[in-house]
């Protein structure tokens, strides 16, 4: 198992993380459904997590993996609050399409 990790090489992880991050970023930019956007955010966070874990293994240092736990905890809390807000918005205007959420218009 360890050998597999070493065989793949750090740059493959970096490419995968970039790919995942870009998928997440494009998801945020092009999707209008707020829940899908949340999922995109999760993908971006996981891309970052993947990098942290990969670098941690590469450096043989556990700090990176500890950070991953923090990130996942914060992401969970964020999703909990974000979903609650979305529920509140849905009850008020009957939609979670972000094009309709224009209260911030100046």
């Amino acid at each position: 198992m360890e050998q597999v990790l070493q065989q793949i090489g750090i740059d493959q992880y970096i490419f995968l993380a970039i790919l995942l991050f870009c998928i997440g970023a494009f998801g945020i930019l092009y999707r209008r459904n707020a829940i899908v956007m949340f999922m995109s955010i999760e993908i971006m966070l996981n891309a970052a997590n993947l990098l942290l874990v990969a670098f941690s293994n590469y450096h043989e240092d556990a700090n990176g993996q500890v950070f991953v736990f923090f990130t996942m905890a914060v992401a969970a809390a964020e999703v909990a609050i974000g979903l609650a807000i979305l529920v509140a918005i849905y009850r008020n205007i009957g939609s979670i399409d972000i094009d309709k959420l224009k209260n911030l218009k100046g």
Binding site: A25, I28, L29, R32, I98, D99, L101, K102, N103, L104, K105, G106
Partner: protein, 623 residues
């Protein structure tokens, strides 16, 4: 001791001002009038003490309270200087001031702003005291500006009448022109001698090349305050104020400031004979011009106002000839009889219920015996009948003029003959023949209360005997003023020879001619001046005051108005355009920027991502 006394002299009127100014509304008229009168009377008492002190020791008192301003070359003290000149002025400012205050308690008793009136009146006296007691030019300037301010407040006292407000503004602005002269004078003097202190100036002054500018500027200042050509037109208009104010301004305070200042700076003026000539000529011309205008005025107070201008012209003539103590002498006697005349005219106006036109008066002799008697005495005095005070003072001026310049003597003599005529015209029109007003006014005719007649009697008595302080041969005043005046023109008094007696005789004959013509015209033939619309020829020119106001309007006011409207319409529009267009740029930019705030979260995120990409790109470029 002297410091305390000095502070008391100044503080009494100030306390009166403050009490009436802050609590006047809550005090009864009797109390506030009494406070104001007592304040000036107390100042009069301390002034008497000062006078006695100066008279016995002959030593001027100098009090420096603190250093006021410090410059690299010189410093200015907040100090006071009491010498013979200041003592004299103090005496008649506070003395006549007290009488006028007493008179006002009765004269203004029906006015709703009673306490305010006395506040201003006390303030006026306070500033006048500062003016005469200041130890340097800057201190004098405080008083100089202060009396200007108070005159504005008092002339426009009945502020609900727009004409009166205009008169007040005119007085103020005309005075400002003169004050500019005073400032220029102060600056030049300070530049030349590095001091503004009178004592230091007197000791160290020498003929500096630009001294003429300074003295000329001082003289311009004096023409503003003392109503000489070309800045005299405010004084007749100042009749808009209550009569006691006119009396105070004309007799004791403001108009004498110019004469006081020139006398105070006599050592500077002596160094510039050219300026002295100008002063003498302007004085004589003003005297004649004002006297001719007074001939045809029908407003009782305006006649007196022009008479003041004329008398002041005579004083300036004396100043210009270097006879400072003669001018001071005439200031003092003039203060007595002019105060009496003004207060008397106030008494008359009071009796007829506010009427000031002499064509609607007449026959008041029967109803107002005391007013008539005092008015008669003062008229005799101002016309120069011996042995009343005006005779001696005016005659000394004429004598001095004769010894210097015959032309000036002729002009001054003519002016004084005209004085006799128009003053008796005033007297006869007001008091002789029968009453020309309405029936209702006639039924109300009455002698004024004692608070009005008492000052009249005192002033008439002073006008009678006031000349004794400087009669030929025994000139107490000249002796008294000797320490103040460096090069006295009358240091060697003229021996009374045949020439002098002839001149005196001529002056008396002139006065009798004036009296006689007025008597023939207005008592014998019972003439009454015609309506304003019917005057013609030279009379019209005189009645319109040589159109001097109109000339000023044409030469100064209209160009300024034109310039003002030009700047307002054209230049201001230009500046507005530039400034406003600068303002419009950010406004326009922000309007465009506002469109980016469309509330579309997707767009925000897109901008955010672009931003992050840009940042990363930048970081890569840096490393």
């Amino acid at each position: 001791m002297s410091t305390t006394l000095l502070l008391l002299t100044l503080i009494f009127p100030l306390v009166g001002t403050l009490v009436n100014g802050f609590w006047g509304k809550h005090l009864s008229k009797k109390v506030s009038g009494t406070i104001a009168t007592v304040a000036i009377a107390a100042s009069f008492v301390t002034s008497c003490l000062f006078f006695a002190y100066i008279q016995s020791t002959q030593q001027p008192i100098k009090v420096v309270l603190f250093e006021w301003m410090k410059f690299s070359y010189f410093s200015i003290d907040f100090g006071f200087y009491f010498d013979q000149l200041a003592a004299l002025w103090l005496l008649f400012i506070t003395g006549i001031g007290t009488l006028i205050h007493l008179y006002s308690t009765s004269y203004m008793s029906h006015d709703e702003h009673f306490a305010k009136f006395f506040t201003y009146l006390n303030f006026f006296v306070f500033f006048m005291l500062i003016l005469v007691t200041g130890s340097n030019l800057a201190m004098m300037f405080i008083g100089w500006e202060g009396v200007g301010l108070c005159s504005y407040l008092l002339i426009g006292f009945w502020y609900k009448n727009q004409d009166y407000n205009n008169a007040a503004k005119k007085a103020f602005i005309m005075n400002r022109i003169g004050d500019l002269g005073f400032l220029v004078g102060i600056f030049v003097t300070g530049y030349l001698y590095h001091t503004l202190d009178f004592v230091a100036l007197q000791q160290h002054s020498y003929l500096a090349p630009s001294l003429g500018i300074a003295t000329m500027a001082f003289f311009i200042a004096a023409t503003g305050k003392s109503a000489q050509l070309p800045l005299y037109t405010w004084l007749p208009d100042a009749m808009a104020g209550p009569t006691p104010v006119s009396a105070l301004i004309h007799a004791a305070t403001m108009v004498t400031a110019g004469i006081f200042m020139i006398t105070r700076l006599n050592f500077l003026f002596d160094l510039t004979p050219n300026v002295q000539h100008i002063i003498a000529v302007i004085g004589a011309v003003t005297s004649l011009v004002a006297a001719t205008i007074a001939l045809v005025q029908n407003d009782i107070k305006k006649v007196l106002a022009y008479s003041t201008v004329s008398q002041l012209g005579l004083m300036f003539l004396a100043l210009g000839l270097g006879a400072y103590e003669v001018a001071v002498f005439h200031v003092i006697t003039h203060a007595f009889f002019k105060a009496c005349l003004f207060l008397g005219s106030g008494s008359v106006i009071h009796a007829i219920g506010g009427e000031q036109d002499m064509r609607h008066m007449g026959g008041l002799k029967k109803h107002m015996k005391i007013t008539y008697a005092t008015f008669f005495v003062s008229t005799l005095a101002i016309s120069g009948f011996p042995p009343l005070s005006g005779f001696f003072s005016k005659d000394e001026i004429l004598l001095t003029a004769f010894h210097h310049n015959t032309v000036l003597w002729i002009i001054a003599s003519l002016a004084s003959i005209l004085t006799a005529f128009y003053m008796f015209r005033l007297l006869f029109l007001t008091f002789s023949n029968s009453f020309r007003g309405t029936k209702e006014q006639e039924s109300h005719l009455h002698e004024s209360p004692s608070a009005i007649t008492m000052p009249l009697v005192i002033l008439a008595a002073l006008a009678t005997v006031g000349g004794l302080i400087s009669i030929p041969g025994n000139s107490w005043l000249n002796q008294f003023l000797k320490p103040v005046i460096k090069n006295s023109a009358t240091l060697h008094p003229h021996t009374l020879g045949t020439t002098e007696y002839i001149l005196m005789g001529l002056a008396v004959i002139g006065a009798f001619i004036g009296l006689g013509v007025a008597y023939m015209k207005y008592v014998k033939n019972k003439q009454v001046p015609v309506n304003d619309n019917n005057v013609a020829g030279i009379q019209a020119i005189l009645a319109n005051k040589y159109y001097l106001d109109e000339i000023y309007v044409f030469l100064i006011v209209q160009p300024i108005n034109f310039l003002g409207s030009f700047f307002k319409k054209q230049i201001e529009a230009l500046i507005n355009g530039v400034v406003l267009s600068f303002g419009r740029i950010p406004s326009e930019l922000s309007y465009q920027g506002k469109k980016a705030q469309n509330g579309n979260i997707g767009l925000y995120l897109f901008a955010f991502v672009i931003g992050v990409c840009g940042l990363i790109y930048y970081l890569f470029m840096c490393y």
